[in-house]
């Protein structure tokens, strides 16, 4: 039986939610402006503008809605979005939403999976070295974490692919050749996650932050008091020393790992958002770009909202951050 004060938590989450929506609106405006201010014309994927007669160009423009003023275009895009319609891709003519979901899920799995792998490596290292019991061991582990972070992810990909294809003959795989989705087996799914989890370059920062926070918490008076009463110091330091810094780091590192995912998608021919984004950017496929940016930004904000929620539940002083300096 515990009294959780739902009201302030709900209020906090709602506030964060509105801030997030407001920010997403800003993001969409910024990206939309960049799209339309940048050189290049989406029409070039359909026609050769120089040779086509102007009437056809005008017709096409009207079809795609590009003939109107830019603010109007933005508002109409926003209006569609509010009705759950991301628009249609200029290139394929298919709804953006469907394509986004198809590749977005892949990227999400890659990102979340590798985040878990990263945490599985980083947390034990941080916990062991924050105890200060084995100075040499903890320095060695920290150094190991730094080396993992410094390892370029694409090279790690090469090594892993080489070992699995050449040594174990596990799956026919060449980095430059396309792999059909029928070969989407477990290893194919698993390897990129492992590679990105180990090599995304955030382990060192996570270890550093966790270690710092855990050391601080372990030297708090209340941990000493818990020890004096014979209780487990881990039970008492878990919330402030592990849960809060881990959530902070997860929320902060999502964009970073998304970036790493783009590289790993390339190495492993993983059909994800990075490739779609690149193709769409080359084609000036505005609806797809807008969709991808928004999707990524929503993902980032879901991470932050989760962080807010965890903070609110963990910390009785709702609204105040649990971390001092």
């Amino acid at each position: 039986m515990k009294f959780i004060l739902w009201k302030p938590i709900l209020k906090l989450v709602l506030r964060e939610f509105f801030i997030a929506v407001f920010l997403l609106l800003g993001v969409s405006i910024v990206i939309f402006s960049i799209l339309h201010l940048a050189p290049g014309d989406p029409l070039h994927i359909f026609i050769n503008i120089q040779t086509q007669n102007p009437e056809d160009v005008a017709l096409l423009k009207r079809e795609l809605g590009l003939d109107r003023a830019i603010p109007i275009q933005y508002l109409s895009w926003l209006n569609k979005l509010l009705h759950g319609n991301f628009g249609n891709s200029f290139r394929t003519g298919k709804p953006v939403f469907g394509e986004l979901i198809k590749v977005g899920v892949n990227t999400l799995m890659l990102t979340i999976g590798s985040m878990i792998v990263t945490l599985l490596i980083a947390i034990p290292i941080a916990v062991i070295s924050s105890l200060r019991r084995h100075p040499v061991l903890s320095w060695g582990l920290t150094l190991f974490a730094y080396i993992l972070s410094a390892l370029p992810v694409f090279y790690l990909g090469y090594i892993v692919i080489y070992i699995f294809t050449k040594k174990f003959n596990l799956f026919p795989f060449l980095p430059s050749g396309a792999v059909s989705s029928s070969k989407f087996n477990l290893i194919y799914f698993f390897l990129p996650i492992m590679v990105l989890g180990v090599g995304n370059g955030s382990i060192s920062e996570i270890v550093r932050h966790l270690k710092m926070q855990l050391e601080r918490v372990l030297s708090e008076d209340y941990i000493k008091a818990a020890k004096a009463k014979g209780a487990s110091i881990w039970r008492h330091s878990f919330k402030e020393g592990i849960l809060i810094p881990v959530t902070t780091m997860v929320a902060a590192k999502i964009p970073f790992i998304l970036g790493g995912a783009v590289v790993v998608e390339q190495v492993f021919n993983w059909p994800g958002m990075g490739r779609l984004a690149w193709q769409a950017a080359l084609d000036r496929d505005y609806p797809v770009i807008m969709g991808i940016t928004l999707f990524a930004a929503v993902f980032v904000h879901v991470g932050r909202l989760t962080q807010t929620l965890v903070f609110a539940f963990v910390n009785p002083q709702t609204g105040e951050k649990g971390e001092g300096d």
């Binding site: 801030i19 407001f22 920010l23 997403l24 800003g26 993001v27 910024v30 990206i31 960049i34 940048a38 050189p39 290049g40 320095w139 730094y146 080396i147 972070s149 410094a150 390892l151 370029p152 992810v153 694409f154 090279y155 090469y158 692919i161 080489y162 294809t165 050449k166 060449l174 980095p175 430059s176 370059g201 060192s204 920062e205 550093r208 964009p255 970073f256 998304l258 970036g259 790493g260 783009v262 590289v263 390339q266 990075g274 984004a277 690149w278 950017a281 080359l282 770009i289 991808i292 940016t293 990524a296 930004a297 980032v300 904000h301 001092g324 300096d325």
Partner: protein, 297 residues
Amino acid sequence: MRARYIQRAAEVSEFSQIPIWKRANKKDIIQIGFGLLVVLFVLSSYITSVLHLLTYDPLEINLKEIMQPPDYKHILGTDFMGRDILSRIIVGSQAYFMPGILAIFIAISFGTIAGLVSAYNSGRTDAVFSYILDLIDSIPKMVIILLAIAFFKPGIFFIMLIVGITNIPTVASLIKSKVIFLKKRNFIEAAKALGLKTTDIIFKHILWYNCKSIVIIQATLGMAEVILIETSLSYLGFGVQEPAPSWGNMVASGGDYFFRGDFYLSTAPAAAILISILGFYLLGDGLNNLLEWRRKR
């Protein structure tokens, strides 16, 4: 023996009197030394290219000597066009260094200003600053960079400008939380009550005494991240373009040979990336230990 002991205890009563090299322990020295070696390597690369000290031109194609494994003539071997890999690695370090410094400079200077301003002025100014910073922070870096590349086909300096801008929020939020922490402890009021000038308080007492380690950590982490981004982009073919050498495109062009068993083509530049990033991590860690030393023990 005892006399010396007593004497020493009296001598070293004040922390500030201990010279910095005495404060450092073996671990710090190793870390900083390693980091400085990496910096030295980059600097020496500029010197060698200015003074034409390299035995082989990194761009010189020599089809008679393609795919030479490492030997005494080519210490790290040659690539598929017969170019000397060592020369290419040395020159390749220039691909990230100056642009990286630009990125770090932007991130830290603007981040510090934004952090200070929004911590000092609560209310509307803070809200506006926070909104802009959050906005920058909401868009994943890689998406923005890809868009910029696709639209503008920019040079590496422009890309690093974007990296710098996207790093502003991190620095700003760290500085801001530090200043707010100091404010809560009535540190700033106390300094004001002592009659210190505002510029003194901000530059000396807030930034130098309390934000030094944030800046150092962010600068070295930033450099490591810049190497990561530059090599990733070059690997993807968006950054430095062949034939100009960059560690990223060297790994990529060696990739096909890697799977045929010729590892050294991409291993050598990958090792260069690893050592450099590690060097900057350790440099930051070591410097931080040294400067934040009193607080730690």
